[in-house]
Structures are given as C-alpha cells and as structure tokens.
C-alpha cells in the first residue's frame, strides 16, 4: 500500500510527468531501431516526420486550448473545411486561396471561443456545435464529394511537397509552427496568461487577467492551426474533402495528452506535444510493422488516450468529476 502511494506521488511530480513521455519516445526509437536497423534514416525518417507534421500542427492548436483547461472537438471539421476551400478556390484564385482557407479557420476558432465565453457553454459542447456547423458548411461547399486539385491548381501546391536540403517543406512548416507557438507561450503576455487561466481560473480572474480574451485567443489559434493543417493535408494529397481530417481528431488530442499536457490545464506545452505527436506516429508505424490491423488502430489510440488522461489529470482541481 505504501508503495502505491509512493508511485502515486512520483507520478504527481510534474517534472517526472514531463520526463516520462520523452523516455517513452527514446524507448520506442530504440525498439524500432533494434527491430529494423537503419529504419530511422534517410527517406523513411523523412516520411515519418512528414506524416507527423500535420498531426503535430493540429495537436499544437489543441495544446493552446487544453492549456487553458478547455477542449476543442472541432479541429477535424475546421481542417476539412480548409482543405475544401483550398481545393475549390485554387483554380480561380491561385495562391490567394491559401490565406482565405486559413482565415476560415481563424474565423471559426473565434466563433468557438466567443460561443464558449459569451454564452457560457462548456467548451466541449461549444466546439461540438461549431464543429457540426463547420462540417455542414464543408459538405455544402464540396457538394458532399471530394474535390481533386487539378493540374492547374497543383502549380501552387507543389512547393509543399518539395524538400529543402533534404528536409521536406512540411517538416520545416511544422518546426516553424512549433517554434512560434513555443515563443508565444513562453514570452508573450498571452502565453503567461494562458498558464495562469489553466492553473486556476478564479485566481487568474482575481489577479486582473482578462480570462475571456485569453480563452478566445486560444480557440482562435487552435482554429487557425487546424486550418493550416488542413491546407497542408490537401496539398499533400492533391484533394480536398469534407471528411479529409476526420480520422485526426483522436490522434491529435491523444498526442497532446500522451505528451504530458494535463487535460485540467495549466501544465504542459508545445515541446511535450511534439514528443507526443512523435510517439503517436511511431506507435502507428510500429503497429503496421507488428501486424496490428489498420482498422484496429483506433481501439489502441482510444485506450492510450484514456490511460494518459488518467495519469496526467490533476484531480485536486475538479471538485466533482462529471
């Protein structure tokens, strides 16, 4: 019994919580390297990182929202909408389709945030609702079909699939997003406010922080990054579809939680999410490697999500767990 409490207090230490995911990642890399030497070099490594990039960008957006103690269940819809807008507008608008698609994400992120703080709707319901709104709009714009980006439009998306000095552009984009997000969280007032709001909303409020504004900005960032992820996904697949990113909601949230950001907010960051996203990607590759059916992946991710939440959650913060 005493041992159990010891283990529990060990887990409760935030430093240890931050180190576990990194240790897990290193362990996974070692296992993959042992199982198939040379797997993590050259082309396969580039492919692994490119595949992680979109997931990481999505997860980074959710990280902002989870840090303030909320959740965003609309990211997959926003990403899909952005892909549809991009595919639809590329032929007529050319490169300008990119900012339009990304701004749609900003708009719906703002909408989620405003609905959440103004109307005092819990974030999971607010984003479930805006996610439905967005999914309907995406279906309507695309007429329920996938839109292929034709040769004429592909001129503008080709740069995303290229490499710079051997590093895929997608990976560079992800690194840029990660760095900027890291700097925002660490060195801006909004970043510090986010941690304060997540750590204790009433205390943050009493300290004079504009809690509502901080929350709305977090949701706006989440929407924008989701749209960026959707645009990149569409460019890579040369197609936009209203269900393009539907399979990414769970891995994205799982990446954030597995990385060690607490669902209760106030603890975590973009670096942890990067580790989490890599873990998810390697586990996914490992599963196909070991021979786990691709359809069963969701079962494992679902279980991993529940387990990771159970470990990272700060129960002292919720009086009644509903």
């Amino acid at each position: 019994m005493e041992n159990i409490t010891k283990i529990k207090s060990l887990f409760a230490n935030s430093w240890v919580q931050g180190a576990i995911p990194t240790g897990l990642l290193v362990l996974l890399i070692v296992i993959v390297e042992l199982a198939s030497p040379g797997f993590l070099t050259g082309e396969t490594l580039a492919l692994l990182l490119s595949n992680t990039a979109v997931l990481f960008i999505l997860a980074t957006g959710v990280t902002f929202v989870i840090l303030i103690g909320g959740i965003d269940l609309s990211i997959q819809a926003v990403a899909s909408l952005a892909s549809v807008i991009l595919a639809q507008l590329l032929p007529s608008m050319g490169f300008a389709a990119f900012p339009v698609a990304i701004l749609s994400g900003l708009g719906f992120g703002l909408l989620s945030g405003i609905v959440h703080v103004r109307l005092r709707v819990p974030s999971f319901v607010a984003t479930l609702a805006t996610g439905g709104v967005v999914a309907g709009i995406a279906l309507w714009i695309a007429n329920g079909r996938a839109i292929t980006i034709e040769e004429a439009g592909r001129v503008n998306t080709i740069w995303i699939n290229e490499t710079v000095v051997g590093v895929p552009v997608v990976v560079l984009l992800a690194i840029a997003v990660g760095l900027i997000s890291f700097l925002i969280l660490r060195y801006t007032r909004f970043g510090r406010y986010s941690f304060a709001v997540g750590a204790g909303e009433s205390a943050a409020y009493a300290a004079g922080i504009n809690v509502d504004r901080t929350k709305v900005i977090a949701f706006a960032i989440s929407g924008t990054l989701a749209a960026i992820a959707g645009v990149i996904l569409a460019s890579r697949l040369s197609s936009g579809s209203p269900s393009l990113a539907n399979q990414l909601l769970l891995p994205a949230i799982a990446a954030v939680i597995v990385g060690g950001t607490a669902i209760t907010g106030g603890l975590g960051g973009v670096g942890r999410t990067a580790v989490g996203a890599l873990i998810i990607s390697i586990v996914r590759i490992g599963m196909t490697f070991v021979g786990v059916n691709i359809f069963a992946e969701n079962v494992i991710f679902g279980a991993v999500l529940i387990g990771a939440v159970a470990i990272t959650i700060d129960r002292s913060k919720i009086a009644i767990i509903k």
């Binding site: 703080v117 999971f124 439905g132 999914a135 069963a296 992946e297 079962v299 529940i306 767990i321 509903k322």
Partner: protein
C-alpha cells in the same frame, strides 16, 4: 446582451414559460412548414417523419439520462456501431455462416450495454471526466466494429430482423413501435423508479445528493450502462433499416442525439429536463430535417443548422449565466 438575456429569462412566470418554449417551437415549425409545403401534413410524409425519428429517439433516450447527470456521452457512435456490427455478424449475413436469429439482437444489445458500463466504470474508477472517457471509448467501439467488419459493408439477410424496418403495424414500421417502447421504458425509469430520482438528484447537486445517501458512483455506472442499452437498441434498428452494417452506419448520430436532448430543454448542467423534453427535441430535429428537404434546402446544411440549434438552445437556458467558471 447579457443583461437582456438575463431579463428575458428570469422571473418565475418566464421560467414556467421557458419550459414550454420547445413545444412552442415545435408547433410553430410544423405550421410554417405546412404553409410552405402542404405535402408535409400528408399521412405518407408523417409516417416518413416517424420512421426517421425512430433511431434518434431511441439514442436520445439514453443520452437524456447522461445529460441529466450533468455528464456527456460522446461514445454514442462507437456503442451504436458495435451493436450494429454484432447483430449483422451473428444473424444471417453474407460474410459468415452464423444464423442465430433474435439471439443476435440480444447479443448486440448486451455488447452495447457492456460498452456503456465500461465507460461508467472507467470514469468512476480512474476519476476522469466523462467527455474524455467516452471520447476514448467512442474510438475503441468504432475501431472494434470496423475491424470486425473488415472495413467493408456486411449485409443483414435475416428476414425477421429486417422486418423491424419493413413490417408495418397500424401502418407504422415496427421500428417506430420499438422506439416508442424505448420511450415508455425511459419514462417509467425516470419518473417511477428510485434510480430515476437519483439521477435527477445527482444532476441537481452531486454533493447534496451524496450527503442524502445517494451512491454517486453506482448511479453513474448504471446510467452509462442504461445509455449503452438504448444505444444498442438504436444500433439494431439502424442495421435493420439500412439492411447492412458498415463503418459509417453511426455517422452524425452523436450530433443528432445531443441536439435533440439540448433543444428539448434539458440543461447541460444536469438536474433539469427529462425524457418528455427529449421527445419534443427529437421531433423538432427530425421535422426540421424533413422540412428542409421538402423546401428543397441542401441536406448538407443540416449539420450546420443543428449546430446553430445547440448553441441557441444552450444560450437560452438561463442557469448558465450564473455560472462563474465554465470549462
């Protein structure tokens, strides 16, 4: 804006009025659609409405108890697709040689109930919020059913189970009668059992209920099990209606269920509303969808309208405005 909302929704008289708002919306909706397109009121169309309300009504019965607790169950689509998968694979089908007939239906409902109980046990034992637990369980269920179906569609060949959708009694398909039975069962549970009272009490204030001797963990686990039961019945109905089970059989169902419960006037904070509200909510959602088709509006916009309805309904329920911290 906030003060206007408060003024609009405060006061005892208005509070009473608010309870009837969903019903008023339903009546006005029917009148508007009938004026715009008289075909709406034809018996053939009304039967169609009843038929398409069957699955959402059954689902929403389960969801009502969860929302009354102040929790949420996001695993609707997972539980439902597992039930549909089990019934199709165990009854006569075009993928394997099983032919257990109605035992398959029982097995499907049992499987879904187990998934509900799993959600309940996981969240009470691990002490994590229901939306995270059920988000995980949603994908566990979905992954399981897609895996078992091998990623393809399997046809249901059992004629008697198909009869749920095809056989008619008093000119309504059996599925509608099953949904009405589920509704009656939910009414009995909510208004005439101790468990129903306990759910309301927990939703109204968990600490007070616990002091009064309610076991919150047990009630919560039972409630999620009960929800799983209703989702299972709905999964069987959906499989019978579609004549097959595939990966997308439950797509959009979570959304419809939550919309119906919330639009019916059950508060997300728990403890307020109930099964009767949900019946009105389901009718609003289904009739609106039907009306949009009659009026020639793109069906793709339906989710958008439902999303806006959730936001509007939640925004108009006054008790939220007093809450300090909303996460």
């Amino acid at each position: 804006m906030q003060s206007f909302l408060t003024r609009l929704t405060s006061g005892k008289r208005l509070r009473k009025w608010r309870a009837f708002a969903p019903l008023a919306v339903l009546v006005v909706l029917c009148i508007i659609i009938t004026i715009a397109n008289p075909n709406f009121i034809e018996p053939r169309n009304l039967i169609r409405v009843a038929n398409s309300a069957a699955v959402p009504l059954t689902l929403a019965m389960g969801m009502t108890f969860i929302i009354l607790l102040g929790s949420i169950d996001l695993s609707v689509e997972g539980a439902m697709s597992v039930a549909a998968m089990v019934v199709v694979l165990l009854a006569a089908n075009d993928s394997n040689a099983h032919n257990y007939g109605w035992l398959a239906v029982l097995a499907a409902i049992a499987a879904s109930t187990m998934i509900g109980l799993l959600s309940g046990v996981l969240q009470t034992v691990l002490r994590i919020p229901s939306f995270m637990t059920t988000l995980g369980v949603w994908f566990i269920g979905l992954g399981l059913s897609v895996y078992m179906l091998g990623g393809s569609a399997v046809r249901l060949m059992d004629e008697s189970i198909r009869g749920l959708a095809l056989t008619r009694f008093l000119s309504l398909p059996l599925a509608v009668w099953v949904a009405l039975a589920a509704f009656t069962l939910a009414i009995i549970i909510q208004y005439y059992t101790r468990f129903g009272r306990h759910v309301l009490a927990l939703g109204g204030g968990e600490d007070i209920a616990e002091f009064s001797g309610v076991n919150p963990r047990r009630v919560r686990i039972y409630a999620f099990g009960l929800a799983g039961f209703f989702f299972g019945v709905a999964g069987v109905l959906a499989a019978a209606q579609l004549g097959q089970s595939n990966a997308t059989i439950a797509d959009g169902r979570l959304f419809a269920a939550v919309t119906a419960v919330v639009v019916g006037g059950t508060a997300l904070t728990g403890g307020e509303g109930g099964v009767l509200n949900t019946l009105v909510g389901v009718l609003i959602v289904t009739i609106l969808a039907n009306g949009m088709i009659l009026l020639g509006i793109s069906p793709y916009i339906q989710q958008t309208v439902q999303g806006l309805m959730i936001i509007a309904a939640v925004a108009l329920s006054l008790d939220r405005l007093n809450l300090k911290i909303v996460k």
